[in-house]
């Protein structure tokens, strides 16, 4: 089966995605490196938890673990938002 590249557009895309024609189908190949950012919530809430648990009180009487987890929501959300905006700029939002 020979293959060559062809551009195609996905619904809702900003630009054109590159797809490879394989036989009867165009197989879209998205860029996915930025998805590593999706690991950030795990690193924050699981991997770093033992450290956060050991810090104790902060600002006098506030448990650090509590603040850390609230921070985890904010940072994690930002990470997912960045992944989303990169996908949107690349026109890949509808590429599953």
């Amino acid at each position: 089966m020979s293959s060559h590249n062809e551009t195609t557009t996905e619904p809702g895309a900003v630009g054109a995605l590159v797809g490879e024609v394989v036989g009867d189908e165009i197989v879209v190949k998205p860029k996915r490196a930025h998805w590593l950012l999706l690991l950030i919530p795990f690193i924050w809430c699981v991997v770093l938890a033992p450290w956060a648990n050991s810090v104790g009180y902060v600002f006098g009487s506030v448990p650090f673990l509590l603040l850390w987890m609230i921070g985890g929501i904010l940072i994690g959300c930002a990470a997912i938002a960045i992944v989303y905006s990169i996908d949107r700029a690349l026109g890949q939002l509808e590429v599953v």
Binding site: V27, I73, Y84
Partner: protein, 500 residues
């Protein structure tokens, strides 16, 4: 007063929700179980965040904080972790559902692994998992109903009333009712929580949030960090790490989450939601404030007694209109997710188990409704049989449902996975979670506190991989169901090549 306000909220919300759900909509299986696949950002958001604010989040998280302190803070991690995984998983599930017309989790697995028996196996496991999950919601609902009616009756009676309420709600509108009532429930719950949270500090007899933290530090010093006040291994750092790891893995194989994924109108809607949902979980900060205030105001309670801590606290220290508001919102909070669970269990069982023996009934709405009654009854039974701290029940649920995760993740990521391999792993994992004779020895090998779901999952994966490699892989068309969802037929070939 409590009864009046609470009941008006509940009846009003349900009537309102049913009206909007049914207005101008022909009710068929696709409408009833996946909302006709038309839910845009706004409704889809509410349906999914309805999962953020379940009875567990309300009562269970409070229970965790009131009886232990730090262990309750794990709840902050659950939604953001699930959103990170969901960004990848949910759009795929949705696309597969749209392309092949799936309405249940079983449909996906039957197609992806080329075996209706495999779909039935997954369905049965999935139903067991969500009945356990329903136990959490029903336990909570029974507690809230007792607060609403103010009559001391055996908890069995309240659990039965809870079951009946869910039945009425679900039999008429299915998934669409849940979506619409869910919107009302989320708004009301946020209002109720705000009201309670604003008053929490003074209800505990203190003058500021700073004084709240100072008092907790002085009187409950172990609450600052894991393992918390009770101080046992079942809420220590290993419990925390293993439970938080299992939660996002299990979240998408909870069959109702799977089914809800089908309801969106596109991958963009889904992904936008994954960004926004964790922000909604910032409301858990109010739960933390309320929980810490309750810790000070209430006498010390065992973890199981603390299931009702939020309600006791509000009943004791707040005017009755607040209690009515909270109770009304609380009933809706239990009804909506449980409604979704029961719809899911019923559609799944009908399509993927009954459907094998009586194909004509696979999508029959009346059959599904009979199953709704049956599953609600079973859920009521298991809830009534034994009571436990909500946090413990939930840990068990995720250990169990986590065993389905390899089926989903291998299905989306590994061509070589086979039905026999995954089933072997699944059965082994399930047995390990269920039988103390098996999980006891395995847990000795891991740090104390680790939840049983983790060693079970490890064995599960090892077996799934080994046995898959020894058995025949599914056909290419089946593998495509999970792994080639972006392939589009080239335009010049469209007429000759239908996508089936």
């Amino acid at each position: 007063m409590v009864l009046v306000i609470g009941l008006s909220i509940i009846v009003g919300a349900i009537a309102f929700g049913l009206y909007f759900a049914l207005r101008g909509t022909k009710m068929d299986v696709e409408e009833w179980s996946v909302g006709g696949r038309r839910f845009g950002t706004f409704i889809f958001w509410f349906l999914l965040v309805g999962e953020t604010f379940t009875t567990f989040a309300l009562l269970g998280a409070t229970q965790g904080i009131v009886s232990g302190g730090a262990p309750g803070y794990y709840i902050f991690g659950t939604v953001v972790l699930s959103a990170a995984v969901g960004y990848f998983v949910v759009p795929r599930i949705w696309k597969a559902g749209k392309r092949y017309g799936f309405t249940t989790m079983g449909d996906f697995f039957s197609a992806r692994f080329d075996s209706r028996w495999f779909g039935a196996v997954i369905t049965v496991f999935g139903i067991i998992a969500i009945l356990l999950y329903a136990r959490v919601q029903l336990t909570g609902l029974a507690i809230i109903l007792e607060a609403l009616l103010g009559i001391k009756m055996s908890s069995l009676v309240y659990v039965i009333i809870a079951g009946l309420a869910i039945l009425v709600f679900v039999l008429i509108g299915g998934m669409r009712s849940s979506a619409f009532v869910g919107i009302i429930k989320d708004v009301l719950l946020v209002v109720a929580l705000l009201v309670v949270a604003i008053g929490a500090v003074s209800a505990a007899g203190l003058s500021s949030v700073a004084e709240l933290f100072d008092t907790v530090k002085r009187d409950f010093p172990e609450a600052v960090a894991l393992p918390g006040l009770v101080g046992e291994a079942n809420t220590n750092i290993w419990w925390w790490m293993s439970f938080l790891l299992l939660t996002p893995l299990g979240a998408f194989v909870l069959p109702h989450a799977f089914q809800v994924s089908y309801t969106a109108n596109g991958a963009t809607t889904i992904r936008k939601n994954q960004v926004l949902q964790p922000l909604y979980s910032l409301f858990y900060v109010f739960i933390a404030l309320i929980g810490l205030s309750a810790m000070i105001a209430l006498p010390s309670m065992s973890p199981q007694e603390a299931n009702g801590a939020l309600l006791f606290f509000v009943e004791q220290e707040y005017p009755s209109w607040v209690v009515g508001l909270l109770v009304g919102a609380g009933v809706l909070t239990a009804l909506v997710p449980t409604g979704v669970i029961v719809v899911t269990a019923a559609s799944m069982f009908t399509s993927n188990v009954i459907g094998i023996f009586a194909p004509a009934r696979a999508r029959s709405l009346p059959t599904i409704r009979v199953c709704v009654v049956a599953f609600t009854a079973v859920a009521v039974l298991i809830t009534a049989m034994q009571s436990d701290a909500l946090l413990s029940i939930m840990t068990g649920v995720y250990s169990a449902v986590g065993q389905l995760a390899p089926a989903l993740f291998f299905g989306l990521l590994w061509r070589r996975a086979t039905a026999i391999g995954i089933t072997t792993g699944l059965v082994a994992g399930g047995l390990i979670v269920a039988l103390p004779q098996l999980n006891g020895p395995l847990l000795q090998l891991l740090p104390e506190g680790t939840v049983s779901g983790i060693p079970a999952l490890l064995v599960n994966v090892i077996l799934a991989v080994t046995v898959s490699l020894m058995t025949k892989p599914p056909r290419a068309e089946a593998i495509a169901v999970g792994m080639s969802l972006n392939a589009e037929v080239a335009p010049h070939m469209k007429a000759a090549q239908p996508i089936s």
